[in-house]
């Protein structure tokens, strides 16, 4: 799909979120809620002892029913629908032919660890802070976006062998 058209579509989805739920989109937070609810199910005493975990369960709240958690489930479903409609459903490892599958998977895993960790620290990832933040003119959003893209360009030179 033409990038500008896709951008308009994404913008409309974001606007819908603002109009219906008074908030923007998000992704890394959803990962966190999933992890928190799993920890809560597997090891409740740990949750009670931890100041950080317990605030997700106070007042009977369940992290699994949080807006963000449901939203990321929707993202998976939406991607699946789009892939099915466009004939892009295919099990494969996407990588540069110059590196091995293992190397790609290791870097993908590490990338995930860093991204969600950083996202929780910055209270938003590219969707939650940068995209949604810019749409509400939040200074935090702009700063986070510049930090992400700026550092990615710097690291790009270091990791160029993985991609080009």
């Amino acid at each position: 799909m033409n990038p500008y058209l896709a951008g308009i579509l994404l913008g409309i989805v974001l606007l819908t979120a603002m109009v219906v739920s008074g908030r923007g989109l998000g992704a890394s937070g959803g990962y966190k809620y999933c992890v928190v609810s799993i920890v809560g199910a597997v090891d409740p005493p740990h949750v009670e002892n931890s100041e950080y975990y317990s605030k997700y369960f106070e007042n009977g709240k369940k992290p699994l029913t949080n807006w963000l958690t449901l939203e990321i489930f929707g993202v998976v479903a939406g991607g699946l629908i789009s892939g099915a409609v466009s004939g892009r459903l295919k099990l494969k490892v996407e990588k540069s032919p110059k590196i091995s599958v293992t190397r790609r998977l290791i870097f993908a895993f590490l990338g995930g660890v860093l991204f969600v960790y950083g996202g929780q620290l910055a209270r938003g990832c590219t969707s939650g802070a940068a995209l949604s933040g810019m749409a509400v003119l939040s200074l935090a959003g702009f700063v986070t976006m510049i930090a992400i893209f700026g550092s990615a360009y710097v690291f790009a030179w270091i990791f160029r062998k993985n991609w080009i």
Binding site: P3, G7, L10, G11, V13, L14, V20, G22, L25, S28, G30, Y31, K32, C34, T65, W67, T69, L70, F73, G74, V75, A77, G78, L80, S82, G83, R88, K90, L91, E94, S96, R104, L105, F107, A108, F109, G111, G112, L114, F115, V116, Y117, L121, A122, A129, L131, A135, V136, L137, S138, T144, M145, I146, G150, S151, Y153, A156, I158, W163, I164
Partner: protein, 201 residues
Amino acid sequence: MAPLSSYFAFPEWLNMLTAFLIGIGFGFALEQAGFSSSRKLAGMFYGYDTTVIKVFFTAAIVALIGSQFLSYFGLLNLNQVYVNEFYVTASIVGGVIMGAGFIMGGFCPGTGLCAMSIGKIDAMAFVAGGFAGAFLFTETYPLIEGMANARYKGPVKINESLGLSPGLFTLIMVAAAVAMFWIAELAEKKFARPEITNDLK
């Protein structure tokens, strides 16, 4: 009157349903943009594919302009829409870490999910890493708690800190974005790598 969830008390199931539906729209748009491909996303940083900047800024601007017009016509109360809170240190440090994660993983959390759903195994590794990263954060939070909460400035809006009206800032941002779209086109020509872009079709 909007946001609907502020003016009409949503029962929990409705809140969950709308989140799910919006997520579907989000995932659909991301995948349609081609963001389920890590090589396409990484291309932004090597110049051969600048789709990221086009989609990103178009989306932000559409939502920005749309919400301001809705606010002007009294249809949306912008005071009830969440504005990200600014913690100076955490925003910058987190952003730098995310930048590294972006280049190493080739995804962001949202695109990783929609890529995973169409069968990309590297995306599955990314998402698994994402859960590990979230777990790492929640377990080690007390160590970085001080830094994470340092220099809190509240939900500051960028136009307020620059002393501009929202509309004027929007205009400047649109002008900057349009300039970036043009530069992106030039970059794609200059840094073209047809061996990769043909693969991505």
